[in-house]
């Protein structure tokens, strides 16, 4: 063990010698290279206020938040246009009388798109339409209400669809379509988006008055 220690000590001493040799030339340099250090004396201040000025600042460390507007008007998402190899924004419209079946089918399509990597832009429901089925009475000409059928709509909006993927996608959708459900694939237009909103007659009246 001793020889090892001696060797270690020797190497440490050698390193210290080297360091000293390295330091001495450096010590002379600061006075030449940094004359500023010499000019200021201890009494002059280089900081504003107290040395602890701004010690409690933390809000600058938070991530930047966009200023929130009071109420965002529903903006339409950009409609992607079709390119040479992909379709643009498509609406897959599922409708039927039986709500559970329609909803389950639309959930199936959504999950399927996620699995295939097709980006789903939006998934919403259109208002339910009620249809009254009226039958003629056996005696007499009056019709009476026989049944009320409610048609439910669900829409899944795909942002793009690759042309090579399209036949596979459509094939699977068609083969798994349940009975009593209508499936339709259309392009998304601005009119489709505006149809979701209710008309505001007073606002339109005022606008018409303003334009006159």
């Amino acid at each position: 063990m001793n020889p090892v220690f001696r060797k270690v000590q020797a190497s440490v001493a050698q390193q210290a010698l080297l360091l000293n040799k390295a330091l001495t030339p450096c010590r002379a340099a600061p006075s030449i290279r940094h004359p500023v250090w010499c000019t200021h004396s201890v009494n002059e201040r280089q900081y504003k206020g107290m040395p602890t000025h701004g010690i409690g600042r933390w809000k600058y460390l938070l991530p930047k938040q966009a200023p929130r507007k009071k109420k965002d008007k529903q903006q339409m998402k950009q409609i992607v246009s079709a390119t040479d190899t992909a379709y643009g924004t498509l609406n897959v419209n599922v409708s039927g009388y039986d709500m559970t079946v329609v909803e389950h089918y639309s959930q199936y399509i959504h999950n399927f798109c996620n699995r295939l990597g097709i980006k789903v832009a939006d998934s919403y429901a259109l208002p339910t339409k009620s249809t009254e089925v009226m039958l003629m009475q056996e005696q007499g000409t009056k019709t009476y209400v026989d049944a009320v059928l409610k048609t439910h709509h669900r829409v899944i909006q795909l942002s793009t669809l690759n042309a090579a993927l399209c036949p596979v996608f459509m094939d699977v959708l068609l083969k798994n379509q349940p009975e009593g459900v209508q499936l339709s694939v259309t392009e998304h237009t601005e009119a489709d988006f505006q149809a979701r909103f209710k008309a505001r007659p007073e606002l339109e009246g005022l606008i018409a008055q303003m334009n006159q």
Binding site: Y87, C166, P167, V168, D171, N176, Q182, E187
Partner: protein, 298 residues
């Protein structure tokens, strides 16, 4: 929109521009028993530009396009025991989570009103004016509907005799069927998906459509699912026949769905509607390997 075709060598699929399409599919039990209503409209079919002939002349492969015409299942398949149990459970959950419908509320109200009428201290003036409902109680409506239901005869789901007839398009309503045609390839007659040779100046999809319409004695109306082919089969001619200009053929497959309308059935027409499991009996093994990859058996 411009269309560019790459003819050879067709190691990768030819790229085609997009035709925007609108299609509406509906599955309704009323109407044609065998087929779904299917309507489509093509929007902006653009004119194409023919590529330089020099590029194509060098290719030693002959190109053909085939159509994989499918008849979709009309009724849902029967569930396995586990599926049935699960379905039962889901149904029960939906029932317990659901709210009472209008009809059920009416039933409850009527029952309540009846019980109030039966009570001794019943005063009809206190009752709200429900003049119409007294004539037709909700229970009576239910009875009428029960009667109508009993007189309704649904069509049988599975018909064994039609199932065995391979040429009928209405067999096996729960499965999807593929059309096979017997065509002459070289010197022998083979069962394969209807195909025809590609001609200059048309897209491969148009060739596939031509293949469908040129089938003898069949008025199949089909909707093609897309412009891109779904599969490829390469066939090298035997060495004896091989020449400089023709090494073999490449067949591109396109998927199509049989549209509405039962095609006229002729006994002599060499067509078969087969399920995926039965394909093996009719197709050659190498061909079968390529074809079964894109035929979905859902």
């Amino acid at each position: 929109m411009q269309q560019k075709k790459m003819a050879a060598p067709c190691g990768r699929m030819a790229s085609r521009p997009l035709l925007q399409f609108l299609s509406r599919f509906s599955r309704s039990p009323v109407g044609n028993t065998g087929f779904r209503q299917f309507s489509s409209a093509t929007v902006c079919r653009a004119a194409f530009q023919i590529n330089e002939a020099a590029e194509r002349a060098n290719s030693p492969w002959t190109l053909m396009a085939a159509v994989c015409l499918q008849r979709l299942p009309v009724i849902s398949a029967d569930c396995s025991p586990i599926e049935q149990q699960f379905k039962q459970m889901l149904h029960q959950i939906e029932l317990e989570k659901s709210v009472l419908s209008d009809h059920e509320l009416r039933l409850l109200e009527d029952a309540e009103r009846m019980s109030r009428k039966q009570a001794d201290d019943y005063d009809s003036d206190e009752e709200d004016s429900h003049g119409d409902q007294e004539i037709m109680m909700a229970q009576d409506l239910e009875d009428i509907w029960e009667q109508k239901m009993k007189s309704f005869q649904p069509a049988p789901r599975v018909r064994a005799d039609v199932d065995k007839d391979l040429t009928s398009a209405e067999r096996c309503l729960a499965d999807s069927l593929v059309l096979l045609a017997e065509q002459e390839v070289g010197d022998e007659k083979l069962w394969l998906l209807p195909q025809t040779r590609w001609q200059e100046g048309e897209t491969l999809r148009q060739t596939a459509e031509r293949a469908l319409t040129s089938l003898p004695a069949a008025g199949f109306k089909a909707t093609f699912l897309g412009n891109a082919p779904c599969g490829v089969y390469k066939y090298k001619l035997p060495k004896a026949i091989r020449t400089e200009n023709s090494i073999g053929t490449k067949v591109f497959f396109f998927k199509a769905i049989l549209a509405d309308g039962a095609p006229p059935k002729t006994k002599t027409a060499p067509f078969l509607w087969v399920k995926k499991s039965e394909l093996q009996k009719y197709l050659k093994p190498a061909y079968m390997m390529k074809v079964e990859r894109f035929i979905l058996d859902l």
